[in-house]
Amino acid sequence: MKIEKFILKYFDMIRTIIAVLIGVMVSVLVIYIISKSPGHSLMYFLTGPFMTRGRIGNLLETATPILFGGLAVSIPFQASQFNVGQEGAIYLGAALGTAFALSFHFPAFMYAVIVLIFAGLIGAGWGYIPGILKAKWKVDELVSSLMMNYVAYFLGLYVINYHFRDKSAGFLVSYELPHPVWLKQFIPGTRIHLGIILAVVFAFLVYYFLYHTKLGYEIRMTGFNLHFAKYGGINTFKVIILSQVIGGFIAGVGGMVEVMGIHHRFNWQMSPGYGWDGVVVAIIGHNHPLLIILASLFLAYLRVGGQVMNLLSDVPSEMVTVIESIIILLITAEAFLSQWKYRITVREAALKEVSDESAT
């Protein structure tokens, strides 16, 4: 009976874990089907990310922008705003942030901070547009934010291509950023940079923001029940806009962090997909910032494992994307395992009735 209570209490969590396990099982199965030496491939996939310092580094580097993406998604999602414009905010934040860093100079100690804030503000502006359109006129934020992603992509590309392009390089990259805005790579043999610390700090800040501040409370209540929030006196107009603005800000910062930490110049010819990764980890982590840290690490682990396997065996890394999608599908399918929960609930209710009766 205790186990059943436990299952009911943590049902969502357990469901998520089962979905993840099914995903991993499918990958094992796939590896066994297509690999000539499945044992090795499997080993590369599962233990690869931990085998060398460089790979552990890879794992953390990979997790960093995903974590930013997830945090940026979680805030509007907690307010029940389906804004998927983080992809654009990340891209434009990075592109215009790069342009800004190349155009203005500040004292070294504050240079990086100012550039990050600027990139964040760009992202925030990108969240504001779908936000105000939704709050004021009920324009569907999903479609408008999707379109904004493309506007961001072309705008960013234009700015870099026409004004900040390093023509000495063979392909489309910006000039190198001035050294003061580089985020220090502090573990030799890896590219782990200060951005990872910043990302984790952001996760805790977002957690604290959502669960311990007034605005965070307003965001969550609006997400739970818009009518209730209005009835209670919450200014839902403000909440709908701010949730998307703050999400956009984090996305903008995340994009710029990636530029400042890894390549030190803008080099995205294609949109890097961290916004969509953010949706993935936000869903796996149930929009909870601290769980999103775990989800980002998990996703990064799968990615790096996939890359190692890709490199050293005959199984392509894209298997990971397939696994991700299966996990997401299972988590979002409400009816997945709902029968199981229902049976436990009924049994529990029956037990409770018996004990109530015997008590009276």
């Binding site: 006129w137 479609v143 506007v151 894209e318």
Partner: protein
């Protein structure tokens, strides 16, 4: 005349525009049909990708264009069925499920490309058949018009015909009537015994069908190979095209055409050092503006009430 204007007013421009419009028009019709039934389908991106891939592989291994067509369509419809099953039966959020399916498509196609072609970028090492271009008998002979409208890929003509099919389907068949009824008031449909879930599933399958044709055109008409993520956002653009057009047949056509024109302009202007990026932005900005204006009008009419 200015060389730019000259090239824009040339027959080539019209020809190119129709070519570029085709892989937007197909999925846009798909999006419009599901929107009319009251669901948002953002999985066209994945549907097209899977069909594009399936078509190439089947044609390479069987050498049959017909089989490629059939299996390409089956693959697209299958993806749509998966979306329908998860959304309608397992009660998944349709948007998140669609995002997952798009990821699935992106992953599985590259994965299998590697398995079949031992290369991750493209299947160019697999020889793909291509759907033929057709010369239209009489039109072909007319001087300028012929160069504009004849000799296009057969699927481009199919796309144009699909607009008419879409019109007939939605306005002239019982299924179309039911799709519209379900989209406007599911309770009303239910109250006269229309199976809402089934109608929504059919509309998704139809969107899969049209999406599949769009995918097949991309890999077996527009070019003759499959490359990773070759849809390049056309499934999302389709949402914009359908939205601009109010999900109606002619509107969806013009919405898609707008994107086609702009993208073609971008290609033509690229040679003239006009920033093509800014041109390419126009349709997306337009979509946001159109949606906003539409919503503002609606809220003014209802007096700003809920």
């Amino acid at each position: 005349m200015n060389p730019l204007l000259k090239s824009i007013f040339s027959a080539n421009f019209v020809f190119a525009t129709l070519r570029v419009t085709t892989p937007i028009l197909f999925p846009a019709i798909g999006v419009a049909i599901t929107s009319l039934s009251g669901s948002v389908n953002i999985a066209l991106e994945g549907i097209m990708l899977v069909s594009a891939f399936t078509g190439v592989v089947v044609s390479a291994f069987t050498g049959s264009l017909w089989l490629a067509l059939i299996f390409g369509i089956l693959a697209g419809v299958g993806m749509a069925a998966l979306l329908g099953y998860f959304h309608l039966n397992l009660k998944a959020d349709i948007i998140i499920a669609a995002i997952a399916l798009n990821m699935f498509a992106s992953g599985i196609t590259v994965f299998l490309t590697y398995i079949f072609a031992h290369d991750k970028g493209t299947t160019s090492s697999l020889k793909s058949l291509v759907f033929p271009s057709v010369k239209i008998p009489i039109i072909d002979k007319i001087p300028v018009i012929g160069r504009m409208f004849s000799g296009l890929n057969i699927l481009t003509y199919v796309a144009l015909i699909s607009v008419i099919v879409f019109y007939y389907l939605i306005y002239k068949t019982p299924l179309g009537l039911r799709i519209r009824a379900v989209g406007q008031n599911p309770d009303a449909a239910e109250s006269v015994g229309v199976d809402v879930k089934k109608v929504k599933m059919y509309s998704l399958l139809l969107s899969g069908f049209f999406g599949a044709l769009g995918g097949l055109y991309l890999s077996m008409g527009y070019v003759s190979w499959f490359s990773r993520d070759m849809t390049a956002g056309r499934g999302f653009i389709a949402i914009a095209a359908a939205s601009i057009g109010g999900n109606l047949p002619l509107g969806t056509f013009f919405g898609s055409l707008l994107f086609g024109i702009v993208n073609t302009l971008a290609i033509f202007l690229a040679t003239l050092k006009v920033p093509s990026e800014l041109i390419q932005m126009i349709p997306y900005v337009t979509t946001v503006l159109v949606l906003a204006v539409y919503a503002i009008q609606k809220s003014v009419r209802s007096g700003g009430e809920e």
